[in-house]
């Protein structure tokens, strides 16, 4: 067990190395804000093309636990986002991948891709944003999408500004 933190850091260095080598199209950036603390990362998540989230970029906060990658990272949206499974105030994400379905084979980068997937395939049955989920459950896709677009326009950073 003594060797664990060292192994963890090695993995994080590997991941950092890898993210610098190859870009994840889902992200505008992915890096620890402070290179001395690999347990805290930041990312910019692109809205999925051809979705109401298109054009938006959301900042995401990633906290890596000590027993990563055995345990999943804690991931939160910093930028306000309207999504049935994301808490609009805290940015908390309800995603099985970050809980029971976590696997050590996921990297931070691939986890981000999964979160981008969540944007276009919400699960209104386990909502953290009741209003958005209600719209979806009622089949009001138009209302839901315009609500999402409003939040994109109002809060998200714009890809064109980058």
């Amino acid at each position: 067990m003594a060797g664990r933190p060292a192994a963890l850091n090695k993995r994080l260095i590997q991941e950092l190395h890898k993210t610098r080598q190859e870009d994840n199209p889902a992200l505008t950036y992915l890096a620890p804000p402070d290179d001395s603390d690999l347990h805290h990362w930041r990312a910019g998540l692109r809205g999925t093309p051809d979705s109401p989230y298109e054009g938006g970029v959301w900042d995401i906060d990633i906290i890596i636990p000590d027993n990563y990658p055995l345990a999943p990272p804690t991931i939160k949206f910093i930028t306000k986002i309207c999504h049935p499974n994301i808490n609009i105030k805290t940015g908390e994400i309800c995603l099985d991948l970050l809980k029971s379905e976590w696997s050590a084979a996921y990297t931070i980068s691939s986890t981000m891709t999964a979160i981008q997937t969540l944007l276009t395939s919400p699960e209104p049955n386990s909502p953290l944003n009741v209003d958005a989920a209600a719209l979806l459950n009622d089949g009001d896709t138009m209302g839901y999408e315009s609500l999402v677009r409003y939040y994109v326009w109002r809060y998200a950073r714009k890809e064109t500004d980058l």
């Binding site: 590997q14 991941e15 908390e92 994400i93 309800c94 995603l95 029971s100 050590a104 084979a105």
Partner: protein, 589 residues
């Protein structure tokens, strides 16, 4: 209160010398043809005036006599009570059981008699009706607190008066009683006593017995039904448990999906997973892949280096080092040469839900069928050679396709793995001929120091493909009824949703090229689970349990977490009565 059912009067013979035990009046009956006997059993002939006996079923026995009154008491009316009536003094012994007998004249007289009888310690009192001119026909007990313990009965006068006369006939010695001459002629001792002996049978007048009996029958029937259905349910449950055990043993059950909590791999199983020294296909060089068909079925260990990019693992029972000079069977890998083919194959791969390939370079991608087997392209020249294709299916029992090209089944097990060049947990590259790797049953390889703690503490599933690492036939959990129920529900839901999910997955899974397909497999699982979740919810709502969907915030998708919650509830909060109910009726929910 118990009512009399029967009065029996007979004459018994008490030997003068006898000294009977008071409780036992077991004397012979006087010859019936020479004496008298009377049975009163018609309910219209008598009634029970008072009885403290609540149980009923008792019999009161004793010698019949008329209690003594004060000689001056007008109640001792000699028109009714003959002078030679049997009095206490006429009875042979003091401590015999007695039954008092008297006419029911007035309330006052009744009380006089009863007090006298109380002093004589009688077992019961029988009044009989007298003609109207003697009586005001009052109930002797009317409006009184009755202080006596013995029961009081009333006999109809039509029977009572003749009986009184009879009683007067059996008060003297044997020669003077009724038929005395004949009796002495018949050999009865003249000194013996012939007296009227009375037996009063009672039964409970309470209407309850019938009701009790009815209730008893109802309860018995209920108990029988409960017992029978319980037995039946236990039988069914036993059957279900056995079939579940069998299916788990056959590896047909997704144990993690059952939500039985964290299933880990015991150390003894972990120790059985092979450890190898990793040997890279390109011999540790980072040269670009040079694919070549290989004809040899056996080669020395030096061969891989010469023949370009190839990967193999050398089986080492537990030691880490491969001894020099050991020759290793190396089956030729299927090799492909052109990038254009590679791209084609990537497309194919994405259609196959079980294809697992962790390679990232298109050159290394392989055509895979939906069975998960790697097949060589027929046009590739290498297939003409006697090469054995690598089995890509995680299942070790999968047949090796392309057997026609494999002259011998000499392919050793350590050549069936994936093109894994790095450990998925720490992301470190494996070092050729140096890194010891642990191979799981699904053939994925990891650093033992990375995968062992994970399997021992986190999960029994492979990190990459989520396939169980537990051996077939191993049942890692105690199969409780709750688990059996849950599995049945899940299975029925799953069966209904399987086609839907497969169709959805086919529509959604087409455009993935993420790393190793692992993210894509998650998407597939998620889709399937969402489908399951919905169906399970509907099923449970139909079953009248609407709170299925109520979950804590951030509870996550899918059945897993929520069933886990349910399990916690079952284990902790369930009251004892439900536990008991569950034990009796294991099938109920």
């Amino acid at each position: 209160m118990s009512a009399a059912t029967n009065f029996n009067f007979s004459v018994i013979v008490i030997p003068s010398a006898a000294r009977p035990v008071a409780a036992n009046l077991d004397f012979p009956t006087l010859n019936q043809s020479l004496s008298f006997a009377l049975e009163v059993s018609s309910p219209s002939d008598f009634q029970t005036l008072y009885s403290q006996d609540s149980k009923g079923g008792n019999t009161f026995k004793g010698l019949l006599y008329v209690p003594d009154l004060d000689p001056s008491d007008p109640c001792d009316n000699h028109d009714l009570v003959p002078r030679n009536i049997t009095r206490k003094a006429n009875l042979p012994m003091d401590d015999l059981k007695l039954i008092a007998y008297a006419p029911l004249i007035t309330q006052h007289c009744s009380r006089q008699y009863m007090y006298s009888a109380e002093n004589d310690n009688v077992a019961a009192f029988i009044f009989y009706g007298v003609p109207a001119k003697y009586s005001n026909h009052t109930d002797p007990l009317q409006g009184e607190e009755y202080p006596f313990e013995y029961p009081v009965y009333f006999l109809d006068g039509a029977i009572g008066q003749p009986l009184m006369n009879k009683l007067s006939e059996y008060s003297a010695n044997m020669s003077e009683v009724y038929n005395g001459f004949n009796l002495t002629e018949a050999g009865y001792d003249i000194r013996d006593y012939a007296r009227i002996y009375t037996v009063i049978s009672t039964r409970n007048t309470n209407p309850m017995p019938g009701l009790w009996l009815f209730l008893l029958v109802v309860v018995a029937v209920l108990l029988f039904i409960i017992g029978a259905s319980s037995l039946l349910m236990h039988l069914f449950q036993f059957h279900y448990r056995r079939s579940l055990r069998r299916r788990i043993a056959n590896g047909e059950v997704d144990l993690e999906g059952l939500g039985v909590g964290r299933i880990t791999v015991p150390r003894e199983f972990l120790a059985k997973f092979p450890l190898y020294v990793y040997i890279a296909e390109n011999g540790g060089q980072s040269t670009p892949p040079k694919r070549k068909a290989q004809n040899s079925t056996a080669a020395t260990r030096s061969a891989p280096k010469e023949e370009g990019r190839r990967k193999e693992k050398v089986r080492v029972p537990s030691a880490v080092v491969v001894k020099e000079g050991v020759s290793i069977m190396i089956p030729a890998t299927i090799t492909t040469e052109r990038k254009s083919k590679g791209k084609e194959r990537v497309k194919d791969k994405s259609k196959s839900p079980t294809a697992i390939d962790t390679t990232t370079s298109p050159e290394m991608a392989e055509v895979s069928t939906s069975k998960g087997l790697t097949l060589a392209s027929p046009t590739t020249p290498s297939t003409k050679s006697r090469s054995s294709p690598r089995v890509q299916s995680p299942s070790t029992s999968s047949p090796q396709l392309g057997g026609a090209q494999t002259p011998t089944a000499s392919s050793p097990p350590h050549h069936r793995g994936y093109h894994q060049t790095s450990c998925p947990i720490c992301l470190d590259d494996f070092i050729h001929q140096e890194t010891t790797v642990r191979e799981l049953p699904c053939l994925h390889i990891f650093h033992p120091e990375c995968i062992d703690p994970y399997l021992e503490s986190q999960s029994s599933l492979c990190v990459l493909c989520k396939q169980s690492c537990l051996p077939k036939g191993y049942v890692p959990i105690r199969l409780t009824n709750a688990i059996v129920r849950r599995e049945r529900l899940l299975r029925s839901v799953r069966e209904r949703s399987r086609e839907v999910a497969a169709a959805t997955a086919a529509n959604n899974g087409g455009n993935s090229n993420d790393e190793g397909g692992i993210l894509w497999r998650w998407r597939l699982r998620r889709l399937r689970r969402q489908e399951l979740d919905l169906m399970g919810r509907q099923a449970l709502v139909r079953a009248g349990r609407g709170n299925y969907g109520e979950r804590g915030r951030g509870g996550g998708f899918g059945l897993g977490p929520q069933y886990r919650e349910q399990r916690v509830v079952e284990d902790v909060v369930r009251p004892r009565w439900r536990e008991t109910m569950d034990r009796i009726f294991p099938g109920f929910r």
